[in-house]
């Protein structure tokens, strides 16, 4: 899949949720800010990378502000952000 030069965002900064923003880039970059970063940084990053791989996206920048979201919430918000980016 070709990388798209647009931006998509989904989610919120409410408790148990996360706000995900994705945009096209010339390389893969994942930026995570989390209230549980000390314990779950690697786990959150893995969910993001697995989801990007599933969607065939290599050159994108993902910014994630996490407020304690579970894995399925992170994945869902990222999927929505990707769909919104692709729709623009």
């Amino acid at each position: 899949m070709s990388d798209i030069q647009k931006i998509g965002s989904a989610g919120s900064v409410e408790s148990n949720d996360c706000l995900v923003t994705i945009s096209a880039s010339d390389h893969l970059e994942v930026e995570i800010q989390s209230i549980v970063d000390a314990f779950f940084h690697d786990q959150i990053e893995k969910v993001v990378l697995d989801t990007l791989k599933e969607k065939g996206l290599n050159n994108v920048k993902v910014s994630l502000q996490d407020k304690g979201a579970l894995d399925y919430t992170i994945k869902a918000r990222l999927l929505t952000a990707i769909e919104r980016m692709e729709a623009k």
Partner: protein
């Protein structure tokens, strides 16, 4: 057979992650009224990912999709219908929509090679749906009907009150239709989540009219609803005595007999068995 059904907004991660601990017989994940039109895609994806990671829930899993008169229902069905849910709740139900929904579900079940046969819970929230309810209960997959009083009173241009006089007729008509076809008659939610006395009164009245379950919009309403729609200890004791006396009478070749000076015949025996069936299902005996 249900007593309580709890609505949970489909785009609220904090509530989703606790959905299985509230103690309702069914959870209704809402993609319709509880979700802003700009967040329909987000809610749908959240529900999909949640359901994928929660395949075996301890309660019935119902998803309220968007109505068949909107642009959202097809995507809802495509993404949400799977073996991880039990039922679809259809807002603003009409016979024509229920037949369309049945066709779409049949197609999806076949394409996804599903093991489950998805049930449908229509919401009666239009005046015309009240008039159609005798046909709605006969539609394929329908195994319960919910009264949606907020939209119905809006359609009727009447004020919604706690006393509920304005919904007396639809409540009775829905209960009658459901009982005629032995499916669940599910009462409308009580919308004041801080008025527990009002909730109790409202639930008891719905039960008197023949409703056998009630929907809730807050977990704190569940205890009251579960108690109201469960047979009382006195009813269970009576039903157990009827069952024992029926057995003894049958051994003597009697079809009708007397218990505590009152006649017990087939309808009374059936009533006792219904009470015991419900009590057994919900662990009261």
């Amino acid at each position: 057979m249900r007593r309580s059904l709890l609505f949970i907004p489909g785009n609220n991660p904090a509530m989703l992650q606790n959905a299985d601990v509230f103690g309702s017989d069914a959870v209704i994940f809402d993609l319709e009224d509880a979700v802003n039109v700009l967040q329909k895609d987000s809610a749908r994806n959240l529900m999909h990912c949640y359901l994928e990671t929660h395949p075996n829930q301890p309660m019935e899993v119902v998803v309220r999709i968007n109505g068949l008169d909107t642009d959202y229902y097809q995507k809802d069905l495509e993404l949400i219908v799977s073996d991880n849910i039990d039922s679809i709740m259809l807002p603003k139900a009409r016979v024509v929509y229920l037949n369309q929904l049945d066709e779409m579900l049949t197609k999806i079940e076949k394409e996804k090679k599903m093991k489950k046969h998805i049930k449908v819970l229509p919401i009666i929230e239009l005046a015309v749906s009240v008039l159609e309810v005798e046909e709605i209960v006969k539609c394929p997959r329908v195994d319960g009907v919910l009264l949606g009083a907020e939209d119905l009173t809006s359609d009727m241009e009447v004020t919604r009150t706690k006393a509920g006089v304005e919904i007396e007729y639809p409540r009775a008509r829905i209960a009658m239709a459901c009982k005629a076809y032995q499916i669940d008659a599910i009462d409308t939610p009580f919308t004041d989540v801080n008025d527990y006395e009002g909730l109790l009164k409202d639930a008891l009245h719905a039960q008197e009219l023949g409703m056998n379950a009630k929907s809730a919009i807050h977990p704190n309403q569940l205890d009251t609803i579960n108690k109201v729609f469960l047979p009382t200890e006195k009813q269970i004791t009576w039903a157990l005595r009827v069952r024992q006396a029926t057995k003894e009478a049958s051994e003597k070749g009697l079809g009708v007999f007397s218990l505590d000076g009152k006649m017990v015949d087939k309808p009374v025996m059936e009533r006792a068995e219904k009470i015991l069936m419900k009590a057994e299902k919900f662990g009261a005996i």
